[in-house]
Every structure is written in C-alpha cells, then in structure tokens.
Symmetry: C2
Subunit: 114 residues, 2 copies
DNA sequence: TTAACATATGAACAAATGCTCATATGAAGA
DNA sequence: TCTTCATATGAGCATTTGTTCATATGTTAA
C-alpha cells in the first residue's frame, strides 16, 4: 500500500501530535457546529438573530428566502442547539441558544476584516 | 406568493436587523472559513497542525487517510489561507497560517466541552 | 366547527463534496 | 540520465446537502 509509512514518517512528532487530538466524538461535534455556520444562507439566519429574536416570517424577509427554506434550516440549527424558539400564538420566535456562537461569529468576522 | 410578507412582518425589527448584517462578500468569506472546518477529516488535519508543523505523509498517518486524500484537503485549506507550506527537499511541511483559526478551534472545543 | 394563517415537514431533485484511482510533477541519489 | 520517492492533481463516483413543492400541524377568530 503506502510504502511511505515505512520510511518517511517522523514517529516522535506523530506520536506527540496524536496525543493532542480530541477524541472522535468531540471532533465530530466541533465539525457539526462549524457545519451549521458553513452555509451562507444558514449563517445569515444566525447573523439575523445576533442582536434580537425574530419570527420565521421576518427571518424569511431578512434573508430573502421562502418560509419553508428558512424553517428547514432552523430545524437544523435547533437540532444542533444553536437556536431556541418560543411560541406566541401562531407565531414562533427564534433566538440564539448560546453565547459561544456569538463569539465564533465575532471572531470570524474579525478574521475576514483583518 | 407569500401572503405572509404582506401581513405578519414586523417592519421596524426587520429594518433594524438588516442594517446589522455584514455584506454578502463578508458573509460568504465567513461561511468559507467555517466550511473549511466543517468536515471532520479536514478539521482533524487542522487539529494536527495546532501545535507543530507536519509533512503530508505524517498528517496522513495521524489522520489515518491516504496521502492523496490529505493532499486534496490541504489544497482546499491552502486556498482558504488556513494553512501554509514550505518545501525541504522532497518533503513539504504544512503549518497553520493564522492565529484566528487557533482561536476558533479553541472556542469550539470549549463549547463542546462546556 | 370552520376558515385563515404561521410554521413544520416529507419527498424529490439538482448541485456540491470527499474519496479513490491513475497519473503527473519535482527533488535527491545512483 | 534514470530511478525512487514525496507530493500534487484530474476524472469519475457515491454520498451529502439545500431548495422547492405539496401537504400537515397547530393556533386564533368567526
């Protein structure tokens, strides 16, 4: 197969780094959070909720998408515990569940803007 | 089309939020960074580079993937300016380009571990 | 109970994504 | 120069993902 593995690897460095890598479950959970923010339309929803809660209909207007598309995306964000909701009559208001998300957003915006 | 847009939106809240949303280019750039970290195998590569540089071959061993798969993913990370590389003879060493990425990783790990 | 309406969800489809396999590139030593 | 080896890359593919359309759910008011 990979002859390289017999010859060129630096075992010490490899062993040392392997110890520092989070376990698979944690890695997948981290990836899931990044995945939630990796789609521009889904990220825009999160950005829309950064300062105040909104109903599905308002989010659809802000994001220029159909209520259905927004609702599907909100379900994903809800499953990942990134947003929470509360019902008020016929209307459902969504807001961010977690301050960590706000930090992630702020940091990546810094990065983009240098 | 969407009758809802004629009736239920809260124009004031919507207008206020629209002003706070980053422009489309920035939003896409932010999403791109998150997308780079959203795939578990690509995230693992970044995690492997968190503390020290490694050659492609070592990364492949650490991540238990073929050199080819790693090389393809490194190209994506290079394009997004998340990793950089230096050549030393036949070997190419990769390391993280940017401290912002380290902060993002650290923060999401915090989030996962509470 | 019935109508109206905000939201949720399942199915289907087009587009994007990650991997594999084969092959190319570029550097070092014989 | 020729061979070896680390890395890079293109094509093809199976899988995943985001959207649309149709329909369901749940709440309010008549």
């Amino acid at each position: 197969m990979d002859i390289c593995q017999e010859k060129c690897i630096n075992r010490e460095k490899v062993e040392k780094t392997i110890k520092t890598i989070p376990n698979p479950e944690e890695t997948i959970q981290m990836a899931d959070i990044f995945k939630a923010l990796s789609d521009p339309s889904r990220l825009k929803i999160v950005l829309a909720l950064l300062n105040q809660e909104h109903c599905v209909c308002d989010i659809a207007v802000i994001c220029k998408q159909t209520n259905s598309a927004i609702s599907h995306q909100l379900r994903i964000l809800r499953t990942l515990k990134i947003v929470k909701n509360r019902r008020e009559g016929k209307t459902v208001y969504y807001s961010l569940e977690d301050d960590h998300v706000i930090s992630l957003i702020t940091m990546s915006l810094d990065h983009v803007r240098h």
